[in-house]
Symmetry: C2
Subunit: 342 residues, 2 copies
């Protein structure tokens, strides 16, 4: 029985979590790996981030079922230098190595003022803000960088070299306010946006991509056969290159074009590298840090029309735990089928 | 006697350096401060970066003559944490504190794998690549962040809050090759570009700025009365905010709108904050780091039309030391007049 397109169901966050764990377990994930993934999926749904919530569960399951990501991965965490936490993800999904390494990263940042965590052999398929928000909740400034498969052309080029290469930035706030966190791809648009435009017969803005002939195009089908462009021209391409080098270079994880060459077409995430940097403002001696950041944010919000990044997420966070996550019925049916409970 | 517009003179790099030192000395800089500024000015001319070479000397002199920047500033360098070098610029120009702090930053990065240098009470008026290139020449990955006066609107806003907020990224290369370094403002265009368009009666592209009414405009005069926009829309505005928080927040230096409020109109740089982060790839255990980065760069250059950032600078660097720096005669006359040797 097919579910009509557009039909939705509301699930409680507990239901989101247990459904996700069941689908991952049935696809081969052990308890630790399934719970870590379900945690980031549930936090995404809590914040209304549909693109990184339950929507990603079939992809995680496909990577497990294909045997490309290990469901029983046992990440190892070591302190390679006072400021370097190194995590080998054991060819599993990223949420578990990210969660296992974080306490040592916090400790290293407090001891040294700045520290980093490099992760390799790990498949990242989530938003990046859940990786850094817990650090800012503990008073740290944090940035993270993740590469992916090759989708984005270098400055002036026409062939895919960089991943969509997102980065994130998190800044603590006063009085237990939720941290300010942004999280953005280095590509002008997500590949998913282009796919939706193609499905719906819409054109895409100039600057989103090039066709297979290397020429600018607004035809999403041409972009899908061609290459994505970085946001903001050569400056965004500079950011994409930086993310590639920080995420894959320092960790020794796959560069985006290497991940592409290894990709078996399962539809889930590939193994790459990730880097998180955490800084403790108190170690810099700026004891007015939080007051000055709040003044900056006030100044921004004085400007009618200006918003802080993430404010829509935080508004959702106040509402969705009570109202539940509204999900496409077809997606819920797919995840339940993966769990064997459809 | 006025010099015709467009007339140029070629100076040797030694002449650039000595002329710059003379102008700074005559404006109140002591030997250490004048030599540090002349070093970054001369390196800019060596690399053909006209916008950050001798062109900046009158601005440095104006800040000194106005008494806003101290010519005899004595920066202090301290290690506030294993990974934190903290430099107080003593209300002088940035090149001296940057140069004095760098050896301790290198040492801290080697000991910890990652380290940072925060600088406050320091007026940055140079390109950012000279700050990070020496780190990459010693095998370190490096990033730097500098804020300025308020010129750029936040995402969705119409009033200036952020500086043009440049950042830079430097990556070491194999076999003594010059590091790959990029250096880019967070604004879509430099304010100087808008001023040149206004002078020449040209329009500027959509997305460069808003008029004083808060509406998008292609009239450079309207942009100069209004506000600049970040590159690449809200994503560039996210970068601008990050630079503001990293540069001014961690150091305790002036936020861009604070610098604006203190600015006395002298035409030179204001005091702000700067942050440099340095990472030692060998501390991460990726002993193939350089080989993999070279593979990435080869892949980029395989793509006809693609270039590595900074390659024009490096081509100039091979040529200009022999041929000399070609400078507007009017600018040379202005700097010589400042030196009292016109």
């Amino acid at each position: 029985m097919s579910t009509p397109v557009g039909e939705t169901v509301a699930l409680s966050l507990d239901e989101v979590r247990s459904m996700t764990i069941a689908a991952l377990n049935a696809s081969g994930a052990d308890r630790a790996n399934a719970e870590a993934v379900a945690d980031v999926v549930t936090r995404a749904e809590r914040d209304g981030c549909a693109s990184h919530g339950v929507f990603r569960v079939p992809g995680y399951c496909k990577a497990l079922i294909a045997g490309d990501s290990k469901g029983d991965a046992k990440p190892t965490v070591e302190r390679r230098a006072p400021g370097v936490v190194f995590v080998d993800g054991d060819r599993g999904l990223a949420p578990l190595p990210m969660a296992l390494g974080r306490p040592m990263l916090v400790q290293a940042a407090r001891e040294n003022g700045i520290a980093s965590m490099a992760i390799r052999n790990s498949a990242h398929f989530a938003a990046l803000w859940p990786d850094v928000e817990p650090l800012a909740q503990q008073g740290l400034l944090a940035m993270s960088y993740v590469n992916s498969r090759a989708f984005v052309a270098p400055a002036g080029g026409t062939k895919a070299v960089y991943g969509t290469n997102p980065m994130s930035f998190a800044c603590p706030r006063r009085d237990g306010k939720a941290p300010m966190v942004w999280d953005q791809a280095s590509s002008a648009a997500a590949r998913g946006e282009i796919m939706i435009a193609a499905r719906d017969g819409h054109s895409v803005p100039e600057g989103f991509g090039l066709g297979p002939d290397g020429q600018p195009t607004t035809d999403p089908n041409q972009v899908l056969e061609g290459v994505l462009l970085a946001f903001g021209g050569y400056k965004g391409a500079g950011i994409a290159m930086m993310v590639e080098i920080l995420a894959a270079g320092l960790s020794g994880g796959e560069l985006s074009y290497e991940a592409d060459e290894q990709y078996t077409g399962h539809g889930g995430p590939t193994h790459n590298g990730h880097l998180v940097i955490a800084m403790d403002p108190s170690a810099f001696g700026a004891d007015t840090f939080i007051d000055r950041i709040e003044s900056l944010f006030e100044r921004i919000l004085d400007d009618e029309g200006a918003r802080l990044p993430g404010d829509r997420r935080l508004a959702n966070r106040a509402r969705i735990p009570k109202e539940g996550a509204v999900l496409p019925a077809k997606l819920v049916a797919e995840v339940r089928a993966l769990a064997g409970t459809a």
